[in-house]
Amino acid sequence: MSDLPLEISDDETIVRAIYFPKYLSKKNEIKRQAFKAQAGTDQVSVMRYPFLDADFCKSKGKEIAAAMHAEQFRGLAAIKAGQIRRTGSSVTDSRDVYLGHADISHGFAPAPPGEPPPAEEALRIDTRLSELARRAFYNADPDPESEKWTGGELITKTD
């Protein structure tokens, strides 16, 4: 039985692994693509911190990077659940994936495979994603090659 509550409080830190170049600019700014929904869904996979410590978050991030095309794990974006909710997206526990896993849901119906959403919807979605990217704090990994996280405690921005 886990002592991790199902409910995610506003003060809880939510973490997203960041890869270069798709999610990170050359100036180390988080791109809105980091919060883009997975194919066929309106959801983004994230992790609950500090229940999942930074070592685990990094390990998961590197595991995903191995499946991606030419992407390098570079660090962890951290954002408070309350900050996510204030943009209009929701964040809920999804421990059926693994304990500590959560999903950000944007609430937009996914576009049909291979087709874009209507232009007005595309603008609304991108505005939301940009807001999330703006509110998240990029914790750069000082040693991406190592197995362990050496960047200290993860920091979030204050609203």
Partner: protein, 177 residues
């Protein structure tokens, strides 16, 4: 880098690099902190990025992203070729998890994004101040209407009056209100 707006910049202007001093001011819209695409001086970089999209496998993002089909890539290639002939500022070319390709522009005046699919495209240009312009249509026959919007809204002439941009809107364009 100091940006000298007194210079009469050529029409084929590429993206303007954001200075950190400009980025630090409170944003008037959320796109203000969106990273500006890298400086490019010719379309070869965009075609290279398209080639990367063409070579992606299924699940290229680790979360089930769709492979970009050859039809979508062809539509995007034709679009880039059209843009190149109109001397439109060079976009960043990005794959999307649902199998489409996006061409994106970012300047100090706003953002623009064209998403290209199998049969349809959708486009918006959102200025820093003012209404967005929206376009949709047939992905196999993308005209240069949106290129005009990108150039005039996002990269207006340096000699234009600071608060007024004369934007000529094609008849088939609608404004978001």
């Amino acid at each position: 880098m100091i940006l000298d707006y007194s210079i009469n910049l050529p029409f084929a202007l590429t993206q303007i690099e954001y200075r950190q001093e400009l980025a630090d001011r409170p944003p008037t819209n959320v796109f203000a902190n969106t990273p500006v695409t890298a400086y490019r001086d010719n379309y070869s970089a965009a075609f290279e990025e398209l080639k990367v999209c063409e070579e992606l496998d299924e699940n290229w993002d680790g979360y089930g992203a769709k492979r970009i089909s050859s039809s979508v890539c062809s539509n995007a290639r034709r679009c880039l070729e059209t843009l190149e002939t109109t001397a439109t500022p060079i976009p960043e070319v990005l794959p999307n998890p649902n199998g489409t390709i996006s061409l994106e522009w970012q300047s100090r005046h706003g953002v623009g994004a064209l998403e290209i699919g199998l049969t349809r495209y959708s486009f918006y240009a959102k200025p820093d101040i003012g209404n967005a312009i929206l376009l949709e249509g047939d992905a196999t026959a993308i005209t240069s209407d949106f290129a005009t919007v990108v150039t005039e809204m996002l990269y207006p002439s340096a000699t234009a009056v600071a608060t007024i941009a004369d934007i000529r809107i094609p008849l088939n364009v609608r404004l978001a209100t």
